[in-house]
Amino acid sequence: MAEEKEGLFSKKNISLLTDPLNDDNPITVQVLGICSALAITVQLKPAIVMALAVMFVLIFSNVIISLLRNLIPSRIRIIVQLLIVAALVIIVDQILKAYAYDVSKELSVFVGLIITNCIIMGRLEAFALGNGPWKAFLDAVGNASGYAIILVIIAFFRELLGSGKLFGYEVLGHKGRTLAESTGLYHYGYENNGFMLLAPMALITVGVIIWVQRSRNTKLIEQ
């Protein structure tokens, strides 16, 4: 088969990894997985944990489905996919509860909701069912990274502008009750933007990212 001759890191395979980072980004181009991008991007830490959780689930489910792809009857494939994804999500949830209880509490229901993340189902349906495990692995890493990049960008701006912190550190100074008690930018009358903490601003941030990306990337400009 032609597929066998292809090197592990052939051009085609590499593009599986790199395309979702920019040209075919799951959030900004395919517009999938928006709900979680809005819900858990108020701070950087939960956003990164979420991105890692999605990466774990996506990689394993993509590879497993790809290995099983010739065994699954197509009529019940959605149920099989859901079963595998659900099992993986439970594993992630239990690990988080055991080793990162605080973050797990912050993410609350959204860990469980990874199961309904459109990116995962989308990749399983569109890719894993038709490609070998190595390609499925690369595709999963690429898409999960594309998701992670956008999540981190949104969370960076929301945490910095919304609460003046990064990873919980007060990078813009400390806000006291009065100007004299405050340090850093707050001393000069700066204030946090409460709107950044609300969900609409996450959507607007995604919109701005899409805007910037489309105006820079000529491939994405529509007629």
């Binding site: 933007n193 409460g194 709107f195 919109g207």
Partner: protein, 380 residues
Amino acid sequence: MNFLRKKLDKVKPLFEKGGKYEKFGPAYFGIDTFLFVPNHTTKRGAHIRDGIDLKRVMMVVVIALLPALFFGMWNIGFQAMGEGHSFWEYFSFGALKVIPMIVVSYVVGLGIEFAYAIMRGHEVNEGYLVTGLLIPMIMPVELPLWMLAVAVAFAVIIGKEAFGGTGMNILNPALVARAFALFSYAPHMSGNTVWVANGGADAASGETILGVLGTNHMPTTSVYDMFMGYIPGSIGETSVLMILIGAAILLFTGIASWRVMLSIVLGASLTGLFFNAIGSDTNALFNFPWWKHLLVGGFAFGTVFMATDPVTAAQTTKGKWIYGFLIGFLAIMIRVINPTLPEGMMMAILLMNVFAPTIDHYVIESNIKKRKKRLQKVKA
């Protein structure tokens, strides 16, 4: 004037096609046509011979805004210093507070507009002339200038340029700025302390009438004060009288739609009557007389200057009635029933801005259906 014309003509070749600063051409022609009536005419095709263009329309709206603006300046002084000062003391106190806000609004807003015009190579749009004046007029007087600048930048970039600039925006940019400021910097945009300028010893208590009502007390302000505008509030919104003068200018020149204004008043009155009829012991707003709703808060200002914005309002005649009625209805609904938002006018207008194209669509569809039916009748 001649001097200015000569100066402009002298540098003109630099900005024309092939000139050294060709890129900045849009900015140059924007300034030129703002200062002088353009001397070129349309060359072909059918066109309307009318001297009024977008710039002149916008200037009329600005003129209509001036009475409310000047009264606002005076009122800020009056509210902050208490009684016993001269007219000029009040006025200069207020002017010193308001003029920096107007300057910031125009500098930031026009700066962004010019930057976009140059980047996209189109003419500078005049829409910001009005928006730039509206934004400071609907803000509390003590809003820090940098917050105003951020709100203006957000409104122009996200509210307007993202949709394609003047004439393409879905939401009223001035209200976008206010909504952004309200959600971003809530302590500076609502409450009892922000409506009266600091610095006066005998400052009024600073609570707005809707604020008092929110605490379940009937305000004692006289109707005369409400109508004349001797009450705390955003800079331009307090005086119903001055806003009515503006409304007269807009209606006389045919720039604003009387249908929208009238239907908003109708919608608000009926909703107010409805709540009056129900009554309530725990919420004073239920018992607040319906006609007083029309005098307080941003109702008059929103009705005359915000909802009638020709870009964001409904375009069809029937659509205008529906659009206006629902604004009035929602504004009073939000005021009375929602305890977290004392004023509902802004939200009502923004929400109906979003629905205006839908309303128009269905009005046109129903008209098409009606005509089809008529045609069938004639055929049969």
